[in-house]
Structures are given as structure tokens and as C-alpha cells.
């Protein structure tokens, strides 16, 4: 905000410039000699897939991490940004993906946090300052509301406000739209526009192509830690949205896709008439204070069939998966696998029988982050031969099989001993795929298998799911992504309030039928 120059943005000196910045982590080059210039009055979009190095770059700019090579210039002087506090004092404010407000404090108290401890918090001057800023930006903020009462969009406004109060010249927005509703995203776009008009520089991180095209002035595309392209404002303005998006796609993936998500519509050979591999009847689970229950859930999956479960998140899909896997004991109903009742068996026995569950919570429950990749492959087989003999770990056997699985499933890891939490989300998902699909799977339950993955990994995962069904196994695909279900499934069941409210055969008119069921209208 210090710069009041009125000339065109490109004429201004960059506030911050990165020159050949490289950052390495064990096994990964997160940023590989990246050059970047952040100028006032511009929304600079950093576009890239998961693992492209966006977050690391933000870590470097906000003082959380230090570059291994290269330098960062602030106002033309090489500067080591040593801490987040230091970054703030240089005028670099960051709004992280997940809000950092203390929920039990009021907005005003949150904004006053971080002041000198020996001074009384100055609420009055804060109020004046907030009034001034929020009026000029056209946002309304209730200073006396508790942070926990605010919507996610409002919380983000508070965070932006916090950065502005501290006279930030650069505002970093890290995946800020991921938690917002469509109208919240529009609002944020307009807000960014007003902020850059005041001479601020904004770094807007996203992996969504359309947002990049809609909100950016200048765009830098990152791929595997390298900057693979930049579109300057002059060119940015001359291209239409479609032209921009296809240029992004080319930069990010190196080849043109018509619609990259449109790949697997191949109809499966007839599966009619085969006896079901999984047969569920009248499954019931009592709801708890925080989770929905299940009411009379019944369905069949035939060998080679892909049954989708659609529905708004939190309508019992996770509970269904956990009851089927045996993690949560059901209150009623039967589960038959290959004609054999399994509903009373524990998790391990159901797994041995061929019922596999790929959880959506990959780090929370799917893996033990601090344990090596190799052990995580066998987390559900601890104690079994040939990896354990008489209870003694057979390191060589584990290592050999782990290397095979790493090759087979293309897990990008420095080695089998690397802690699994060091891998990117897509590679952790490959570890889970390898674990659940190997050795005798009959029915595989996927819970939001592509959630949070980048496009390349999403497509690879979908191809795997398709291949599993093609090989004659049954698949239950739980997803909140309707495109994914329409692209993969034979039939789609819709869950609402813990019950299956309807099942639709996939076809041309499936989309509206599923949509009607999801919002509570009969098909």
C-alpha cells in the first residue's frame, strides 16, 4: 500500500523477486531454480497440480522455510526471510488454506493477537482502522462476533483484513477458494480486484484452471517444481477464457486434452445374469450425535460391475463403507461375499475373504505417516507369512515385496524405507491401492478415491478402478464427484440421510435422474 504509483503495473519495480530459487526435501526437489517477480497492482496466479511446488514456494515467501539455492530480493535487496514474523514486517501477509483464527475468541481479539505483550490491546484504534479498510473494500465485518460463528468466507475476510492491518504489500492467498461456495468464490474474486486497485500485490495459488483465468493478471505455471511458463498481463488480456484454459492445460500437461476427464466411457461386457459377488440386505446402524446412521441399505454387486454411490457428503457413505469393511459393527442386516455371510467377521477376516476397503482418509487412518512405505504396504497383514515368521519380522522379504509393489504401482518414493508421510497425496494413494488390490481382492470399496488428487493422478486412479472391474471384481465406488460416477459406473445408487433413495442405470438420462434423487425428488 506504500506504492501509490499510477503508471501501468508492468512499469513498477517488483516488490519481491525470486532468482533461481531451489528448495530440496529428502527425495524431492520441491522448487527447481524458480524465477518469479511479484509486482504491485497485479494478481499473480501460481497454477500447478498437487506436488508442483506451490506450497513450498509460499513457505519460502512467508518465512517458514529457507531456500537451498538462489536468492529472494525484497525491494531489490537480497533478503533472507527468516521467520513468519519477519515476513510480516517486510509486508508479506499470508492467508493459509485452512483458517488460522482462534474459534473461541472474537474477531477483534483475533486481530489483536500478536501485538507486543507488554501493551494493552488497543481496541479503539483497531476499530477505526478496520472501519476504514472494510469500508473501502466493501466488506462487512462484525468485530464482536466469535470466530467460530463466522462462515468460511467471512473467516477468510478476517484473515485478509488481518494482513492489511499490518500494512502488507503482498497478500498470499493459498488455495483460498477450496473451502468456499461458488458465490463466495465470486466475492473473493471481486475483493482481489479491489485490493490490487489499491496497489497491493496478490499471489493467488490454485490448481483450478477456470479460477486462474478468471481472476489473474499474470500467471506462472509450475510443474514438478519447475516454472514451465508465464503469461504476462498484456497477453493475458488478449486471450479469452477458453484459449487461456487450453494454454494452461498445454503448459501443465504438455499435451492437449479435449476434456481430460472424459476418458472412460467404454461400455463393459454384459454382466447380467451372473450371481452377485457382494450382496447386502437391510444394513442398519444407529446414528450418533455426530455421524448419520444407516437405514435398510440393500444392494447387489455382480462380478465385473461398478456400482456407484452418489450423494452429498455426510449422508452415511463413510458409515456404509466402514460397516462393510468391519470397522464399525452394524446394528442389523446381512452382508454376503461370494454367497458366504461375513457380517460377523472382523476386519482382517473380511479382508482375507477378498473384501477390501480403500479409505478416503489416507493419512488419518489409511497409513502410519512416520512408518516406512514398506511397512505401510503390509499394515493390514502384520504377522502373516512370508513377511513375518513365528512373529519375527523378515526384513528382506518385506523389502523385496515392497520394491515390487513400488514398481508395479509406480509409487514415486526415494526408497521403501522413506516415511510414507513424506510422499505426495497421489503417491500415498498408490501405496493404498497397492495394499488393497494385491493378492486376492474380490470386492473393492473405494471411498472418494480421487479426492484431493491432481489431474494426472486422478486419471491414473480412475483407470485403475476401471481395470479392477474389467478383471471381474466387484467395485463399490463412493464419490461426491458426479462426473466421476457417470464416467465409470454401471449403476449409481444415491444415498440421502443414511438410506439409498434410488438406483439409476448409467446412461444418457442418468445425470438428471441422479441429480433429482440427490436433492430429494423422486427419480
Amino acid at each position: 500500500m506504500t506504492s501509490k504509483a499510477t503508471s501501468a503495473p508492468t512499469d513498477r519495480q517488483p516488490i519481491v523477486a525470486l532468482e533461481g530459487v531451489t528448495k530440496r526435501f529428502p527425495g524431492v526437489v520441491a522448487n527447481d531454480s524458480v524465477d518469479l517477480e511479484i509486482r504491485p497492482g497485479e494478481v499473480h496466479v501460481l497454477l500447478g497440480e498437487n506436488g508442483a511446488g506451490k506450497s513450498t514456494l509460499i513457505g519460502l515467501l512467508s518465512g517458514l522455510q529457507q531456500p537451498d539455492d538462489g536468492r529472494i530480493l525484497v525491494d531489490g535487496t537480497p533478503t533472507a526471510i527468516t521467520s513468519p514474523r519477519h515476513a510480516l514486517s517486510l509486508g508479506i501477509g499470508t492467508v493459509f488454506q485452512h483458517t488460522m483464527l482462534v474459534p473461541t475468541l472474537t474477531v477483534a481479539e483475533n486481530l489483536l493477537l500478536g501485538g507486543p505483550w507488554w501493551q494493552r490491546p488497543r481496541k479503539d484504534s483497531l476499530r477505526a482502522k478496520v472501519d476504514e479498510i472494510s469500508k473501502s473494500l466493501g466488506i462487512a465485518i462484525d468485530l464482536d462476533a466469535y470466530a467460530s460463528e463466522l462462515s468460511l468466507g467471512e473467516q477468510q475476510h478476517v484473515e485478509i483484513l488481518r494482513a492489511l492491518i499490518r500494512d502488507s504489500r503482498i497478500l498470499i492467498l493459498d488455495e483460498s477458494t477450496s473451502m468456499l461456495t461458488p458465490s463466495g468464490i465470486e466475492e473473493l474474486g471481486a475483493l482481489m480486484r479491489r485490493l490490487v486497485e489499491r496497489g497491493l500485490a496478490i499471489i493467488f495459488i490454485t490448481h483450478k484452471l477456470k479460477e486462474a483465468a478468471a481472476f489473474g493478471d499474470r500467471i506462472s505455471v509450475l510443474k514438478l517444481g519447475r516454472k514451465v511458463g508465464e503469461i504476462a498481463p498484456e497477453r493475458f488480456r488478449t486471450l479469452g477464457e477458453d484459449a487461456l484454459v487450453s494454454e494452461f492445460v498445454e503448459l501443465m500437461f504438455g499435451k492437449r486434452h479435449g476434456d481430460p476427464e472424459d476418458e472412460f466411457h467404454a461400455p463393459r461386457p454384459s454382466i447380467e445374469g451372473r450371481p452377485p459377488v457382494l450382496s447386502v440386505r437391510g444394513l442398519a446402524l444407529a446414528p450418533t450425535a455426530v455421524t448419520p446412521g444407516l437405514t435398510d441399505v440393500s444392494f447387489d454387486i455382480r462380478p465385473g460391475e461398478l456400482l456407484g454411490v452418489a450423494g452429498i457428503d455426510g449422508n452415511g457413505q463413510k458409515q456404509l463403507a466402514e460397516v462393510l469393511a468391519g470397522q464399525t459393527p452394524q446394528d442389523g442386516g446381512t452382508i454376503e461375499l461370494d454367497g458366504r455371510r461375513v457380517e460377523t467377521l472382523p476386519v482382517g477376516a473380511r479382508r482375507d475373504a477378498g473384501l477390501r476397503y480403500l479409505t478416503d482418509d489416507r493419512l488419518g487412518e489409511g497409513t502410519v505417516g512416520t512408518f516406512p512405505v514398506s511397512i505401510n504396504f503390509f499394515l493390514k497383514q502384520i504377522g502373516t507369512a512370508p513377511f513375518w515368521k513365528h512373529g519375527i519380522e523378515q526384513g528382506a522379504a518385506i523389502d523385496r515385496r515392497a520394491r515390487e509393489l513400488i514398481r508395479e504401482y509406480d509409487v514415486r518414493t526415494p526408497g521403501p524405507q522413506t516415511p510414507v508421510a513424506r510422499l505426495s497425496g497421489g503417491n500415498i494413494q498408490k501405496v493404498l491401492l497397492a495394499r488393497e488390490l494385491a493378492d486376492g481382492a474380490r470386492v473393492v470399496i473405494f471411498n472418494k478415491p480421487t479426492y484431493g488428487l491432481d489431474l494426472a493422478n486422478t486419471l491414473a486412479t480412475r483407470k485403475r478402478i476401471n481395470d479392477i472391474a474389467a478383471s471381474g471384481k466387484g467395485v463399490l465406488l463412493i464419490s461426491t464427484d458426479l462426473e466421476e460416477l457417470l464416467g465409470l459406473c454401471d449403476r449409481i445408487a444415491v444415498m440421502s440421510g443414511g438410506a439409498i433413495v434410488g438406483t439409476v442405470d448409467n446412461g444418457d438420462d442418468a445425470r438428471p435422474a441422479v441429480g433429482r434423487l440427490m436433492i430429494g425428488l423422486a427419480a
Binding site: 527425495g27 470397522q327 487412518e365 502410519v368 502384520i382 519375527i392
Partner: protein, 367 residues
């Protein structure tokens, strides 16, 4: 550092910090400095405290080392004292690696001690001494395990924080042990409130021609066995999964409640054995109000060793030297016995500070 040759991390706790430059030798040197450095600094700080109370620190340290490590009787006492501490260390390693904070080892220790002190002299009258000792070992293990059942069940089935429950149970356990000594197992032959005394010839044999109790060997076996169990077996791995990520344990189909109860039983059983080793090897009986509180002193040692069994043996030796030497120094130089605890506390605080400074230094150097 080339990316492909980045050192592969071992799964254990001690390997989580990455040394950014240099090879393996430098990494070991770095690790050693980080462990020994704080001890030296702590000795200096504790020395300053001694100076302010008018004691020559060099004389004190010299005396502690002399009486705890160098003199023939001192080293024998030190090695004997290690036996119960090693059992406690083994019990703590099991629990902490499984993510369970069994802070009630002192109560379990005392109940084990009282059980063996009550049982062994009576049993020795009717059967061979070795059998009496073995049965006493089994009994004290069972009693200590039973004492851990309340926290174990509460933790396993209701998720009640075991830090609170084990601490509460340790107070009850210490009081119960006293009550038992004073009211139930009182030796009718003396007026002092204590249990019957196991004759010296019936106690655990001494090693060779020394006064060192063979409990030392048992303790070493216990620690090494626990270390190998936790790092090399499927059971140990299951416990570590529960400790590192309980939700992953549920997801993988591990019986978390049973494993939790098993951890409590193992940990408490080893603590009970510690009590038995001390009574059957050294003390011979339990006097009323006797509570050496080894457990609280061993907990920091186990953390300094980063839950590694072999490192724990080294740190228990250090603790033992300090406590035996400190007891002698207390008599001779007049520095209270508890000064060894002050010293250990200073070591821990300095260690934390050094780790922090080292972390800051590493991140600053990367800038």
C-alpha cells in the same frame, strides 16, 4: 547432497531428525554432541549451584564418580542398583512406544515388592529357595498386572486419559503397600513395622565373588528382550501402530482394546518384577514407608535414550552412578541426596534447549 543418495530413514523415533549435510560419520558425531553436550553443560550449571551453597563442585563430582564408579564397593552397588531400574526402563519402553503413558510404575513397583516380600520368606520355609523365588516373581507380576487393570480397562473401552488414572493409582498403590506392610504382612518377630526378611542365602545369587546381584543380568535381559520385541516382532509392530496412529490400527483391523490392555499388563508386570528384583536380590524385606521412587527417576532416562533399549541401559548406568555416588556424597559432603534429581532435571532442561537451538541453527544455516 544429491537427491538419490539421501539417507533412508529408519522407522524409529530416533531417526526423525535429518542432518542436512555431511555423511554418516558426521551424523553420528552430531548426535553424540547433542547427547553429551547437554550433560556437560548441566554439570557446569549444577556446579554453579553447588558453589553458591558453598560446596566445591569438583570435590563433589570427584567424590560421586569415585564412590559411584571407581571404588570397588561403589561400582558393585551401582551395578546392583541398576537391576530394578532396568526392569522399570523395560516396562516404560513398552508403554511409551505403544503411546501409553504409564506413569504409575512406582505404585506397581511397590505392590510387586510387597507381594514378593510377603510371599518369598513363607514359601522358602516349605520349598527350595529357588522355587520360592520363582513363585514370588510370578505372584508379584500378577499383582502388578492386576493393579494396572483399572486404568487399562478405562483406557481401552472408554478412552479415559491414562496419565490421570495411572498417577491416581500410584498414590493408592503406595498407600495400599504401606497398609499391607503395617497390618497384614507384619513380621511378628520384630517391633519395627516391616515384612518378614528373606535370609541372605535364599536371595537371588550374587555374581561370582562380588556383591553384585544377579538381578542385573535379569534386568539387562529384560531391556534387550523388550527392545527386540518392539523393533523386530509383529506384536511389537502392532503396539507401535497403536501408539503412532490408533485410527490406522482400527482401520487395519487390530484389536486395539486388547492390545491396550496387553501393553498395560506388560508394562505393569515389568514394574512389579522390578520391585521383586530389588526385594529378593538386595533388600530382603519391605519396611513400612519405603518408597525409593525409582520410576520417576527412570522416566527421564528413558526419554533421554529416545526409547531405545540399548541407550536406556547406558542412561540407567549414569543414573545409578549418580544416585549411589550421591548417597555417599550426602553423608560425606553434606549435599542432600536429592541433589542428583536436581542434576537430572537440569540435564533434561538443557537437553530441550540444546535441541531447540540446534534446530534453529540448522534452519538458519540453510538460509
Amino acid at each position: 547432497m544429491s537427491v538419490d543418495t539421501a539417507p533412508e530413514m529408519s522407522p524409529d523415533l530416533e531417526a526423525t531428525e535429518a542432518v542436512e549435510t555431511g555423511g554418516l560419520g558426521q551424523a553420528i558425531l552430531h548426535r553424540t554432541l547433542l547427547t553429551v553436550g547437554p550433560i556437560v553443560i548441566a554439570l557446569v550449571i549444577a556446579g554453579l549451584i553447588l558453589v553458591t551453597v558453598g560446596v566445591d563442585p569438583l570435590a563433589y563430582y570427584g567424590y560421586v564418580i569415585q564412590r559411584g564408579l571407581l571404588s570397588p564397593t561403589g561400582i558393585q552397588q551401582t551395578l546392583t542398583r541398576m537391576a530394578p531400574m532396568l526392569f522399570l526402563a523395560a516396562g516404560l519402553i513398552v508403554a511409551f512406544r505403544a503411546g501409553i503413558w504409564n506413569l504409575g510404575v512406582d505404585g506397581q513397583f511397590l505392590l510387586g515388592a510387597v507381594t514378593s516380600a510377603a510371599a518369598a520368606p513363607l514359601l522358602a520355609m516349605v520349598m527350595p529357595a529357588w522355587l520360592a523365588v520363582v513363585i514370588a516373581f510370578v505372584m508379584c507380576t500378577i499383582v502388578a498386572m492386576a493393579w494396572s487393570l483399572v486404568p487399562a480397562l478405562l483406557k481401552a473401552y472408554h478412552g479415559v486419559n491414562e496419565i490421570i488414572t495411572t498417577l491416581m493409582m500410584t498414590f493408592l498403590g503406595i498407600s495400599l503397600a504401606n497398609v499391607l506392610v503395617k497390618l497384614v504382612f507384619l513380621d511378628p518377630g520384630t517391633t519395627v513395622p516391616q515384612t518378614r526378611t528373606l535370609p541372605v542365602e535364599d536371595r537371588l545369587p550374587r555374581l561370582f565373588d562380588t556383591t553384585i546381584s544377579s538381578g542385573l543380568i535379569l534386568g539387562l535381559i529384560a531391556v534387550i528382550a523388550v527392545h527386540l520385541m518392539m523393533t523386530r516382532t509383529s506384536f511389537g509392530l502392532k503396539l507401535r501402530v497403536v501408539g503412532a496412529n490408533p485410527r490406522a490400527a482400527v482401520h487395519a483391523g487390530l484389536g486395539v482394546p486388547w492390545l491396550t490392555i496387553g501393553v498395560f499388563a506388560l508394562s505393569a508386570g515389568l514394574a512389579g518384577l522390578a520391585g521383586a528384583v530389588d526385594v529378593l536380590g538386595v533388600q530382603g524385606n519391605v519396611r513400612a514407608d519405603w518408597n525409593p521412587a525409582y520410576g520417576l527417576a527412570v522416566i527421564p532416562m528413558v526419554f533421554l535414550a529416545r526409547l531405545n533399549g540399548f541407550a536406556s541401559i547406558a542412561f540407567v548406568l549414569l543414573l545409578s552412578v549418580l544416585s549411589i555416588g550421591g548417597e555417599s556424597a550426602a553423608r560425606r559432603i553434606g549435599v542432600p541426596n536429592h541433589f542428583t534429581l536436581v542434576l537430572i532435571a537440569i540435564v533434561l532442561i538443557v537437553l530441550a534447549i540444546v535441541e531447540y537451538v540446534d534446530h534453529r541453527y540448522l534452519s538458519a544455516r540453510r538460509a
